[in-house]
Symmetry: C2
């Protein structure tokens, strides 16, 4: 099992859930497996109110964080894991089968990182934009004839996997916070860096305006693929700020 | 993964489910993980009708078997696995943690046996009487502060465990039906045997009438603990039939 201190560093993020029963079921599964941090992104307000005020709603649901965007919800996380089936889309980042997820999560938590497990809306799952905030995708090995799981059940199965198999891994690695040279950069830091790089691109006339959205998307994925440490991120940020300053000065 | 032929020999049994949404969720999890055989014992009729006629109900729900008693539902099974938490009761048979269940199930299926995974009603789970039909109990490793899982989520987590880890075990053992000397006796055969033994007990004046119910319960557990083969069961049945005949003849 994950030690309790580490379970506190793993959060579940529900993006725009539509059904209050599913929100309640997700929260219950979290309580069943000893997790506490729930965030909800851009919920449908009546649904959200109903789920929170349900009789017997677990405390973690009452204390859940609400945010307008996924970027905001995962800003403090060093490993963002998207969930869903890949039947209708091609992954743009690493894909891991659920039975292989636990060691990655355990390692991240043992180094003092923060992990988010992100679930999309019931109907269509996470969008391509949502997925671009994810370092990796996890796939539940479902039957190809009926691949899509109910939200509450998907949360239960993923959390069960994390507590079932993290026995040995978590005990062998002490949970000492890593230095900034080795600790992974948070999602928020990566977004900050991406913003400065994008400004520099524009200032340098790197590509036509019509390409901005596509470039932003690819940059987000690239930065997550690189597994940058906090230290790396700070250095690259410094470099691009300098470049940007120079470009702006020259441009005037 | 369990080969498809073997998944057909594993059934899910829901005892007196009360909530149509839970029945639907259980059926959906079965479809997600490629299982087909669903039985429902003594369902609350309006609930059962509603669940079956729900829009988009999976085929396996429409084809589910209905029976009046658990004994009937598992009569053809050679390994009956009960589920639930043991917070409020003491187990009378072997208890296995869910992560350790798969090898047992895989072995049974590989020998040509039939397995039932039995889930109790939402409120209080399986009764002591229900549990006496189970060869073993499986426990999902939930948090002691919130041990009780939602029915649909419990089904999802158990089935996920069975498909996640049966990779190697199922491939190494060919699925040849065992001979009656080694193949496990079905639950129905054990009940038949128990009935004859009980008659013999009565005919022999073994214990006062007031003890009949308790004896029946203990006998059911005992026969399951012995892991009798079909062959054993037939021999013991022959023996007790002979004893019974003799007792009855002498009694007249």
């Amino acid at each position: 099992m994950l030690p309790e201190s580490q379970r506190g560093s793993l959060g579940v993020v529900l993006v725009s859930p539509r059904n209050p029963l599913n929100i309640g079921a997700a929260a219950r599964a979290m309580a069943n497996f000893g997790f506490q941090r729930l965030s909800v992104v851009a919920p449908f307000e009546p649904t959200w109110r109903e789920a929170r005020s349900a009789v017997g709603a677990p405390e973690l649901l009452v204390n859940a964080l609400e945010s307008a965007t996924l970027a905001e919800a995962v800003a403090g996380c060093t490993l963002v894991v998207g969930t869903g089936t890949l039947t209708y889309r091609k992954a743009e980042q690493r894909v891991v089968a659920l039975p292989d997820l636990a060691p990655l999560v355990t390692r991240e938590l043992a180094c003092g990182g923060r992990v988010a497990l992100v679930f999309g809306p019931e109907k269509h799952g996470l969008t391509r934009e949502d997925l671009s905030y994810c370092h990796l995708l996890v796939e539940i090995p479902t039957d190809p004839q009926q691949p899509s799981m109910n939200l509450g059940q998907a949360v239960a199965v993923c959390l069960y996997e994390l507590i079932r198999s993290s026995d040995s891994a978590s005990e062998s690695t002490p949970a000492t916070p890593a230095s900034s040279i080795t600790s992974a950069a948070s999602s928020g830091r990566l977004d900050l860096l991406a913003g400065v790089i994008e400004e520099a691109m524009q200032a340098a006339g790197y590509s036509p305006r019509g390409m901005q959205e596509a470039n932003r998307h690819d940059l987000r994925l690239l930065l997550r693929r690189l597994s940058l440490s906090t230290h790396d991120t700070r250095r690259i940020l410094g470099l691009f700020r300098r470049i940007l300053w120079r470009l702006n000065r020259l441009g005037h």
